[in-house]
């Protein structure tokens, strides 16, 4: 019972936060500060997510250097192209090649 109440609580609070302003639409006036803050939500949150995922990276056995090289290559591709396919493709390709070279 507690499990399902917990799930219900998580579902309700998640959906409420996501739909809140969209649902209210033009019936509410968004404070200027919230409107201004929303412009910086994407860079702040996406960078925090990216940095956290890097901190929590588990490279595994002896895979540190190839992954680091892949990450650097991916970061350079991201800065230059701002493209997800190019970033992921470059990063994974460099990490794979570096891993093969290191392994054999």
């Amino acid at each position: 019972m507690t499990l399902w109440l917990g799930i219900l609580a998580a579902v309700v609070v998640t959906y409420a936060s996501k739909v809140s302003v969209i649902a209210l639409g033009e019936r509410v006036r968004i404070p200027v500060v919230v409107d201004r803050a929303s412009a910086f939500t994407a860079p702040a949150v996406m960078t925090a997510l990216a940095a956290r995922s890097l901190v929590h990276l588990r490279p595994g056995e002896a895979a540190g250097l190839p992954l680091a090289l892949g990450l650097v290559a991916g970061a350079l591709a991201a800065a230059r192209t701002r493209s997800v396919p190019w970033t992921v493709g470059t990063g994974l390709a460099v990490a794979t090649v570096a891993g093969r070279l290191a392994g054999g």
Binding site: I22, I30, V45, R58
Partner: protein, 264 residues
């Protein structure tokens, strides 16, 4: 660029509207990179003893990566509804700002459409929707793009979660593939940095999240997001600040020199 899905040379109409297809195309590479993360969440739910029904309910109901992972952890540890309400509420506070950021897209839409838009709203959808807003002024087209991107991620996310749950402990995400999710997030983050204030927001949030890593219930992430937003707003306000007259210098040819950023 040729609009996707537009009427072709022999006059047939496309199956899907062009902006919807654009949304699918924009989200597809993001989804590919997020699959390992989705599978990890599914595997975590299975590994922590949540049954198929509870995992499905969490996946469908708490459709938001970090909140979903946190919910699984909290539910598995026996946390009560009040704890989940508070913790998930804090972690999802950014969603209110996301919601405000895409409000314009859904202005005037039916309540059913808004309900669906709210459900599909997650970080990558917000980033793609904001990007579309900058280049497309048509609300119908923006909504189609939003739905194309949102439904693509949603369907792929469910499959990734289910696969992770099914594989459970047998799943081993190893080798270069562990880089996929960080690289997707990195690319999306870099795409959002378009000005000095957004760079300040990104830099501060990255520093804070690293410094506060290890705080319980993902609070470090929440504080990082808030700090980054505050930094962005602060730099933006500073850029917009009117320059006092005594800071204006007299140009050699006469007339006051207007600082570049004020003129802009």
């Amino acid at each position: 660029m040729q609009p996707t899905g537009s009427t072709d040379s022999i006059g047939t109409t496309p199956l899907l509207p062009a902006p919807f297809v654009d949304g699918i195309r924009g989200m597809a590479p993001v989804l590919v990179g997020l699959v390992p993360f989705g599978m990890t969440i599914g595997a975590t739910a299975g590994g922590r003893g949540l049954g198929p029904a509870a995992t499905a309910a969490t996946t469908l109901g708490v459709y938001s990566g970090s909140a979903q992972l946190l919910s699984v952890e909290l539910l598995a540890s026996g946390a009560g509804p009040l704890v989940l309400l508070v913790v998930i509420g804090i972690v999802n506070a950014r969603m209110v700002l996301f919601s405000a950021g895409v409000r314009g897209v859904w202005r005037g839409a039916s309540s059913r459409s808004r309900a669906l838009a709210g459900y599909l709203l997650v970080d990558p959808v917000f980033v793609l929707a904001r990007g579309r807003l900058a280049v497309d002024g048509d609300p119908i087209s923006q909504r189609q793009h939003y739905l194309g991107a949102g439904l693509t991620l949603w369907s792929g996310w469910l499959v990734a979660n289910a696969a992770g749950f099914a594989l459970g402990g047998r799943m081993a995400v190893a080798g270069p593939i562990v880089l996929a999710t960080p690289l997707v997030l990195l690319a999306m983050a870099s795409g959002t940095v378009t000005s000095t204030p957004s760079l300040a927001a990104a830099t501060v949030s990255a520093l804070v999240v690293v410094c506060l890593d290890g705080m319980p219930h993902d609070l470090g992430f929440v504080l990082a997001g808030l700090s980054g937003i505050a930094a962005g707003v602060a730099v933006d306000l500073r850029k917009r600040r009117p320059v006092p007259s005594d800071e204006l210098t007299v140009h050699p040819t006469g007339g006051d020199r207007i600082p570049e950023e004020v003129a802009a």
